[in-house]
């Protein structure tokens, strides 16, 4: 009797172990499969023209996505310029003054929730407050919606990185008579600088791949960027339009765009991981 019971327990155990190993294997296989397809179908499309030329109508030879690449870069950078100062200040509040009080907890939870909030709703919101009131789609509106998506991530990263700064460092500065703001500026921010920079890079990479919030804000454009006050070309919406189009050459360009976006985002992720792990082992 005991033997059959032991056997049953062993059997169930083996079964679960095998299943979960297969699940992990499945995860790896999917990553390799997706990356493999993106690289195989996208890499061949990338050439000099891809980075230097405007898009051409389907059927014509050549053409690139230069305007979309520039548009995505500009909009993402402008979004970071808007979100980072606000996010760093708010994150500072959470880490320094709002650790345990009700308001701090509220802002912290709200940021956590907004990190995962549907980005398309942010697009609708920015459409209503900017596009509708100004009467036209614009790069500014695109940047604002990206900034709104970036903000909660920057807040939480800043808070976490500031908390890693040891209390003794703060106390030493305060004991020397430094005012709190001076201690923050000269000691804590400097100590947390690298961590905050990598966290912010991750937030930037995250929104650089966003599509949904740009559909109704920056929209898209086949031309070079003249100003941010008009519809602005960007990689992700272009990818969407091209991939959904019935033309083969446009679909190929879409794979090229997918390759470029995926490789950039993954590179930023891997580099920041390396920096963070090398920084953590030192002190």
């Amino acid at each position: 009797m005991l033997n059959s019971r032991t056997f049953r327990r062993q059997f169930i155990n083996r079964f679960v172990l095998i299943i979960s190993t297969l699940a992990a294997l499945l995860g790896i296989v999917m990553l390799v499969w997706i990356l493999g397809d993106v690289v195989l179908r996208g890499f061949g499309v990338i050439n000099w023209n891809f980075f230097t030329e405007l898009p051409v109508p389907p059927g014509e030879e050549g053409g690139g996505l230069a305007n979309a690449i520039i548009g995505t870069l500009v909009m993402t950078i402008v979004a970071a310029l808007m979100a980072v100062p606000v996010g760093v200040m708010a994150g500072t509040y959470l880490s320094e003054f709002g650790k345990h009080n009700l308001f701090g907890r509220l802002v912290r939870s709200l940021s956590d929730i907004l990190v995962s909030a549907p980005s398309i709703v942010v697009g609708v919101f920015v459409y209503l407050i900017m596009v509708k009131t100004m009467g036209h789609f614009s790069g500014w509106a695109g940047s604002v919606s990206l900034a709104i998506l970036m903000l909660p991530v920057v807040i939480r990263t800043t808070e976490e990185m500031l908390r890693l700064v040891p209390g003794e460092m703060r106390e030493s500065a305060l004991a020397l008579g430094a005012p709190y703001w001076n201690m923050m500026m000269n000691i804590v921010f400097r100590a947390a600088k690298n961590g905050m920079a990598t966290g912010i890079m991750l937030a930037v990479a995250r929104v650089a791949g966003e599509t949904a919030p740009l559909l109704f804000t920056a929209m898209n454009s086949p031309y070079w960027m003249q100003s941010m006050n008009e519809p602005m070309a960007n990689l992700t919406v272009t990818l969407f339009n091209y991939a959904m189009s019935p033309y083969n050459d446009w679909q190929e360009l879409a794979w090229g765009a997918a390759f470029l976006i995926t490789v950039s985002v993954l590179c930023v992720n891997i580099i920041t991981r390396l920096i963070l792990s090398s920084g953590r082992s030192k002190p």
Partner: protein
């Protein structure tokens, strides 16, 4: 009397600093309230016209100006349901593998690979789904399901590749890394001596997981599941590519459908007329509220495990 730095106590540089950071922290709360307010205000025409029946009517007809959200809501729930059914066992398996089974040298690379899956932009998942998964579904999987199970309402429509089932699968792929990496972190929080006591009593790996690690981390696991759920409900691009964008009520997973997010992505810029736009905004409001509730639940459970988020 006139020494500059030690002025009145209510207004030192430090207090200014604190006030300034607090003001920026207030900004995100204000942003959230303004977002809700604007969406609510702009969906008034639709709310006035259709009232509660907006949520229960399956009419979505821009020509006759009749709008009901039922098809989009059902599409959202069905794709999410399919995604969760697939993603849950797989992510728990991955988390278990990473926390308990895998040899140590393998944990870091596999864990990193899973986390990198989470970093790939959703539009790449959507596009990959359209060009790679849809043909497989159309040629192999769906015909088989249709041939063998078409007596069930779930598989009762002819296979065309795109549709609710395909969207659910792509969605599952997207949320697996989120749920898996948080669940792994939760598993790793289980104290070693608890596990060792169980092993000492002769428990198998699975019994330790089932009777020690899962009960210990159940709050975090529930939080991770709700976080994945919130992500799946609001995901736009991965779904829009493969769901088929069709407006008819069907319980078949093989039929094309629509989710709230894909409706917005496809129709918002083209919507003409106040009522049409307003109905779409109300859809957005509904989605925002649903995900807010789901994510609040996730936040509550994750917060009570004191664990920072994996994303």
């Amino acid at each position: 009397m006139s020494t500059a730095s030690s002025g009145r106590p209510g207004f030192t540089a430090d207090q200014l600093f604190r006030l300034l950071t607090a003001a920026f922290a207030t900004f995100i709360a204000i942003l959230f309230i303004v977002m809700l307010g604007v969406l609510w205000h702009e969906s008034q025409p639709a709310i006035d016209k259709f009232g509660f029946s907006f949520l229960t009517s399956s009419d979505w007809n821009p020509v006759s100006n009749e709008y009901g959200a039922l098809i989009a809501i059902i599409g959202t729930l069905l794709t999410t349901l399919v995604a969760m059914l697939v993603a849950l066992p797989v992510s728990l398996g991955i988390a278990l593998f990473l926390a308990e089974i895998s040899p140590y040298w393998l944990r870091k690379p596999v864990g990193t690979a899973i986390e990198l899956l989470a970093a790939i932009p959703s539009i790449v998942y959507g596009m990959w789904g359209l060009f790679v998964i849809v043909p497989i579904m159309a040629d192999t999987v769906q015909p088989w399901l249709y041939d063998h199970f078409s007596f069930m309402p779930l598989f009762s429509t002819p296979p065309i590749g795109i549709g609710i089932l395909t969207a659910g699968l792509v969605l599952a792929l997207m949320i697996i890394p989120f749920i898996a990496s948080i669940t792994r972190d939760v598993f790793l929080m289980c104290p070693q001596n608890l596990k060792e006591s169980a092993y000492g009593l002769g428990a198998t790996n699975w019994e330790v997981v089932k009777d020690v690690m899962i009960p210990y981390g159940i709050k975090g696991i529930v939080g991770a599941i709700f976080l994945g759920l919130g992500r799946a409900l609001g995901e736009t691009m991965a779904v829009t590519f493969v769901i088929g964008n069709a407006y008819h009520l069907s319980w078949s997973l093989l039929a094309p459908g629509n989710s709230i997010a894909s409706t917005l992505a496809n129709e918002f810029t083209e919507a003409d007329g106040k009522l049409y736009t307003s109905a779409l905004i109300e859809l957005g409001l509904v989605l925002f509220l649903i995900t807010f509730i789901v994510l609040s639940i996730a936040e509550f459970w994750l917060h009570s495990t004191n664990k920072k988020r994996g994303a």
